[in-house]
Structures are given as C-alpha cells and as structure tokens.
Amino acid sequence: MERGDTERIDITISSRFENIELVQVIAEHLCENAGVDEDGSHWIGMAVREAVANAIKHGNKLDVRKKVNATFELQDGVDLTISISDQGEGFDPEKVSDPLNPQNLMKTSGRGIFYMKTFMDQVNYSFNAGGGTSLVMRKNLAKGSGIATTKA
C-alpha cells in the first residue's frame, strides 16, 4: 500500500456469536498485511470482537434476521478506521459505568467498551434516527501496537 491509497473491506454477518470470529480474523489479517506484528493485530482483533459481540447481543439481541455490518478502511497503509453497525435500538454511552470504579470491579460484565478504548486510539458511537448503533474505531498502525498507554 502506498500513500494516497485506501483499502476498503466490507463484511456483513447475521447475529450469531459464531460469526464474531469471522470479523475478528478479517481485522487481524488486514493488520498483519499492513505490517502490524502479531500482538498488535491480536489487540485490534479483540477490539473488533468486543464491538461485534455487543452489536449481536445488546444491539440485535441475537435476532439472526438482523445483520451486523463491519467496514475496514485503511488509508495510506497506516490509518485504520473500523465501523461496526447493528440494527438495534441504541443506548446512551454516557450511562455506561466505568469498570475501573472500585464498586464495579467485581461485576461480571461491563468491560467490553473499556477494552475497545484501551486497544484503539478512538472509539465513537453514533445512533441513526431509524434505529441502529454505529461504532467507529480508529487506530494509527504506525504509532506502535499493543496496549495504548493513554486511554480515550
């Protein structure tokens, strides 16, 4: 990939947990093709896994007729933008509690978005008027992979 190039991959799955892996492997292969090391690719793949799991579970509520779409855009071989959307009812991201808060430490859920923010540079939610959640995650692949030291 050279400067000015944009690579775009688009995948749509139905809402089954088994399909999470299909989207995750796309992310990992795309990163490896872009020269990211195995660990770095793994963490990006994990952010994607968490995002798709949420779209299937909280968004589409496991309704197999509802779809999850993922789009990967790689600009100049380094700027990765991953968009994941579902056909659910949305939610208020402000109301999501902080898993690092001591009173949440022993909760059995609530760490998915936190992991996405940890592994990606940016995580943004938007909600379509007609329903459905869109999540856009960005990562500069040149900045080094692994766990980001500052959290978004």
Binding site: R49, A53, L105, M106, K107, T108, R111, F114, Y115, I147
Partner: protein, 111 residues
C-alpha cells in the same frame, strides 16, 4: 473450551483449554466451577496455560467464578497466566483481585 480436573493435596486443579469467549466457553466455565463446588471442592486452582483466547465475557466469568467460590468459603486462584490474559487483567485492575502463580508447587502450598 475443555476442562480437565485433578485433585492434589485437597486442591482441585482445573486446566482450562481453548476459548473462553461469549457463547463459547463462558457458560462452560461456570458449569465447571459449579460442579467442583457441588462435589464439595472449594479450593480451586485454575490452570490457564491452555487458554488460547479470552474476551470480556470470559474475563467476566472469571470474576463471577471468583465471587461464587469466595461466597462458599472457598478460594479460587490462577496458575500460568498467558501473557495476553495477564495484560487483560492488568488494564482492568483485576490483577489485584486474583492470586496468580507461575509455579504449581507454590500455588498448592498457598491454600
């Protein structure tokens, strides 16, 4: 996920293998722990070396297992954390919750 269990010095060593992820392994982990508790074993050492992938649901199940075992007066500790699982427990500060061992002998002695 697969689990194999052996008892050493009154400690139930449960080796977990494969994925502990949403819809695959997360509920199985719960069952494995329930089974151990059901047969009166409350000192549990989870050998994590064979865990290939874990996600936030799997991490959540680990936390749930810890709470369940502790509430029954038992102890749940972790052995041989793969590097990536270690990172996942660190960033969520859960590493402060679990007692983690690199060495089975040391782990057994600690119960």
């Amino acid at each position: 996920m697969k689990a194999t269990t052996r008892s050493v010095d009154g400690v139930e060593i449960i080796s977990l293998q494969g994925k502990i992820t949403i819809g695959a392994g997360d509920t199985q982990l719960r069952e494995v722990i329930q089974n151990a508790l059901g047969s009166g074993k409350t000192n549990i050492l989870l050998d994590m070396s064979g865990v290939t992938t874990i996600d936030s649901s799997g991490i959540g199940e680990l936390v749930g297992s810890f709470t369940t075992v502790t509430n029954r007066g038992g102890k749940l500790k972790l052995l041989h954390l793969p590097a990536k699982l270690n990172e996942l427990l660190h960033v969520t500060q859960l590493i402060t919750v679990f007692e983690v061992y690199d060495n089975e002998q040391d782990a057994l002695k600690s119960f």
